[in-house]
Amino acid sequence: MAPDAQVQTAGKKLGNLKHWQNLGYNTEALWGQCQGSDLYAVSATLATLSIQCSCPSHKRPCKHGLGLLLIAASTPASIVESSVPEWVQERLTKAQEATQRKEARIASKVERVGKQPTAAQQKTARKRQSQISSGIETLNLWLEDLVRTGLGSLETQPATFWEKQAARMVDAQAPGIASRIRRLSVIPNASPDWPAKLLAQLGHIALLTHAYTRLDQLDPKLQEDVRLMVGLNLKEEDVIIRGEHVEDDWLVLGQITDETLRGIARRTWLLGKMTQRAALIDQFTPTNIAFSKMIPTGVCWHGELVFWPGVASQRSMILVQEDNSTFIKEALPGTAHIEDFCDNVANILACQPWRDRFLCILCNVTLIYESAGDNWYIRDEHGNGLPLRAGNYWEPLALSGGQALDFAGEWNGETLIPLGFLLDGIYHIAERGQ
């Protein structure tokens, strides 16, 4: 949860009772006052684990908030159930009001469904459409130019080379394509086969512009995907109205956090226990600021997710989460054979060729280390293996002792990034660095 290592260390120090007074909790929140350079009022909402603190730090959650959660985890008996102090009640009321405002906004949107857009709205949409089309035209020329002059010349280009083109796409109201261009900047020289990787990614952008200019020829669901990839984002309330609602017992399998040039991106993978539907929650926050919602992993809860409209959509958001979280203990619903997983990937790619991340659940597999080459694999009972991303997996190997386990990971087409694994009825979250 900590925004950086410094806050994490400071938070651990404050996980000591001697810094705290007036600790308490009720069904909604947890609170206390922490003596730092001043007396800070700290509270945490239990449902979302969102933290509020009166300290002036711009980093969120701050060290005081982490300290409060650490005390709750390590010495729960020290926090007694009590009546809510006024300052905590004020915060809870404000949060409630914000939720109500959001619900009202959605309700008003729902009311407008089916109504014709106003003339002004139509004009804005047409203007944006024209900007995107002209931006894509310029982009296609740029892409063709790169291939005409040769990718060899890109080896020494600075990051600004890519940023300049990305900025043009932002101006052209296509932030999705801009973000794909920014991702290209880290490919040159990053691996021995970087020209092939760069060419493939440039090709995917070309395929996207190709699809966008022929949008009406595509399946309606794929049209939604293409619009989203170009950058015509939907507001949350639009997703709620137009997206697919799925109710299930959701297993929160793990998170992958990536630091980008513009902030921190976090992907949380969930799996529906009954529907076996993979769900991906994307979150982004500028550096040093906490994510607006904490999603605890390794747990299962009943609830309703809404999926963004699209083909075999996995991007989703939590609409309803019942207060019934339990730890993941039972076998994961997945396949025992890697071949089946690869077939599933092929099927998804056949419908949505830009998909580059897949949830991989493999049951009764083993973790394998090959000292020649320092490679790690997940091996199924047929002896087939998928490589794990380079990393240190000695702790999972020590826990498994060569025994079979249920594995959850993210497949990126080349390697698996572990999310967690279930062994002897305990779900272990893969640590950072694994």
Partner: protein, 510 residues
């Protein structure tokens, strides 16, 4: 095909505009639909098709060999709370107490939890002195795991060493082994059965080369006894190699009943003179002014080569010899060295002799002398003398210094010698002193780093009965000075470690 596309893209289509783009797969039909596209656009689209095609056709790596499963454990593991405390220590928080914590696990016949094994194996790689302890805590899983990581090879090596040490010494290896193996074997035989080792060497003596003879003879330092004298004297008087004779002379010098040791004693008698109740004369103890003159020329030449200095001569002679010769107690003799130019040499020589011959009366008297001197004495055997005493006596000796500010700097390295945990009474007195000091910390003459040094030792060695007293609020002066935060932080770190130890003690027996 992808390689061809990449080559073309790297060079650029401007250089090879006549290229035909074909993959030879069904992808070509897709490309045919893009009739109006330029060569560059076709190249980009085909690259995208190809990448998707490859992603969809990914095949797993076949025929991976499974790792064998680890054997079931025979011992139980520690609790989750203990594991969490150990993990924080392995991550560096309060790591100074880690080995004692591991020792507590060993005493209770517990093994390490599986998830901590990689960190502990890494710790063993960096700290060879902890390997014996760690080895007992690894369990089946730890041994299994260590086989797969070259960095943890030490586990197998340690097991092999232990196995070799418990194997009976084989005479066959003594006959057929390499020089290193034979030397190692003879050392082990000296430890197990010194007489048999001597017989082995005597039997092969005439067939050995000179440098091998010298090397093998050096193993006689292990378990030296009077029984070695005839063999060593035979070597001293009859061996062809001077280097071998030199090794024999060194060994004989340390055996009081040997002719060499007798000669050294005779020689020392001539250079040391003392009248009870007086001080040693300045003219005595000047060893180099008196040439060695012994009837046996061979022995004299060897002794010359030993280049014996005063300290070595005194270290070789049992200290009781001086008590008997001068009819004076060790304390009187030590006192008689006062004001002698060579006092430190004499005391050091006697101290080494007292340790070699375990002369307890001398050890006590020498420590009294060390305790009474404020001189800074580098490389002195005070610490070795102290370490030879039982812990209770060591603590009593150190308590002489605690709370005497002028002695405190000397006290810290001595405290470090004490086995942990300290006794209850020693812990109480140290804690009392530390608290009294902190109450008046800014007025103390003593350098604060010394207080801090004792505090750091105390946090890992304080007796468990003092935990509650140590965790009570400490009296710190109200006066605020520039380094007040530093002292408070030191105290916080001390109390944090004590709290951890307290929690560990409570948890491990729960």
């Amino acid at each position: 095909m992808m390689d061809e596309l990449v080559k073309l893209a790297i060079v650029g289509t401007a250089q090879q505009s006549n290229q035909q783009l074909q993959s030879g797969t069904t992808l070509d039909t897709l490309l045919e639909q893009c009739t109006e596209a330029s060569l560059e656009r076709k190249l980009l689209l085909l690259s995208s098709f190809q990448a998707i095609y490859q992603g969809a056709g990914y095949t797993a790596r076949p025929e991976l060999v499974a790792m064998p499963e680890a054997a079931p454990e025979q011992t139980r593991t520690c609790s989750g709370n203990i594991a969490a405390l150990l993990r924080s220590m392995l991550d560096g928080k309060n790591g100074a107490w880690l080995e004692q914590a591991l020792l507590m696990l060993q005493e209770r016949h517990l093994r390490l939890p599986f998830d901590l094994l990689p960190k502990v194996l890494d710790y063993g790689k960096k700290h060879p002195e902890a390997r014996a302890l760690i080895d007992t805590l690894l369990g089946e899983r730890g041994r299994w795991l260590s086989r797969y990581n070259p960095a943890w090879q030490w586990v197998q090596e340690y097991a092999q060493e232990q196995e070799a040490a418990t194997q009976p010494v084989s005479e066959k290896t003594w006959q057929d082994g390499s020089n290193t193996e034979r030397q190692e074997l003879l050392s082990r035989q000296r430890e197990a059965d010194p007489d048999k080792a001597r017989i082995w060497l005597a039997e092969t003596w005439s067939q050995e080369k000179a440098d091998t003879r010298a090397r093998l003879l050096k193993t006689f330092k292990i378990n030296q006894s009077q029984a070695d004298i005839p063999f060593l004297e035979q070597v001293l008087n009859g061996d062809r190699s001077e280097s071998v004779r030199f090794v024999a002379a060194q060994l004989l010098a340390a055996l009081p009943a040997s002719q060499v040791a007798q000669s050294i004693t005779d020689y020392a008698n001539r250079v040391v003179e003392y009248q009870p109740g007086t001080s040693f004369k300045k003219s005595y103890f000047t060893i180099h002014s008196q040439p060695i003159s012994i009837g046996n020329d061979n022995l004299a030449s060897i002794l010359e080569k030993l280049a014996l200095d005063l300290r070595t001569v005194l270290a070789l002679i049992p200290p009781q010899h001086w008590v008997e010769r001068f009819a004076a107690s060790p304390g009187e003799l030590i006192k008689a060295t006062e004001d002698h130019d060579l006092q430190i040499e004499i005391i050091t020589g006697w101290a080494q002799a007292a340790l070699t011959y375990q002369a307890t009366e001398w050890i006590a008297s020498l420590l009294d002398w060390y305790a009474s001197t404020l001189k800074f004495l580098p490389d002195q055997p005070e610490q070795a003398l102290l370490a030879s005493l039982p812990q209770e006596q060591q603590e009593q000796y150190i308590l002489r210094f605690v709370a005497q500010s002028e002695y405190m700097n000397r006290c810290i390295p001595l405290v470090a010698l004490l086995p942990a945990p300290w006794s209850e009474s020693f812990s109480e007195q140290c804690l009392q002193y530390l608290k009294a000091y902190s109450a008046d910390i800014y007025e103390q003459k003593l350098d604060g780093s010394t207080w801090n040094g004792l505090l750091r030792q105390a946090c890992i060695a304080l007796h468990p009965s003092c935990f509650d007293a140590a965790l009570e609020p400490w009296p710190l002066p109200a006066k605020q000075v520039w380094n007040a935060t530093y002292w408070k932080n030191q105290l916080d770190a001390f109390q944090e470690m004590i709290a951890l130890r307290k929690q560990f003690h409570e948890e491990i027996d729960r």
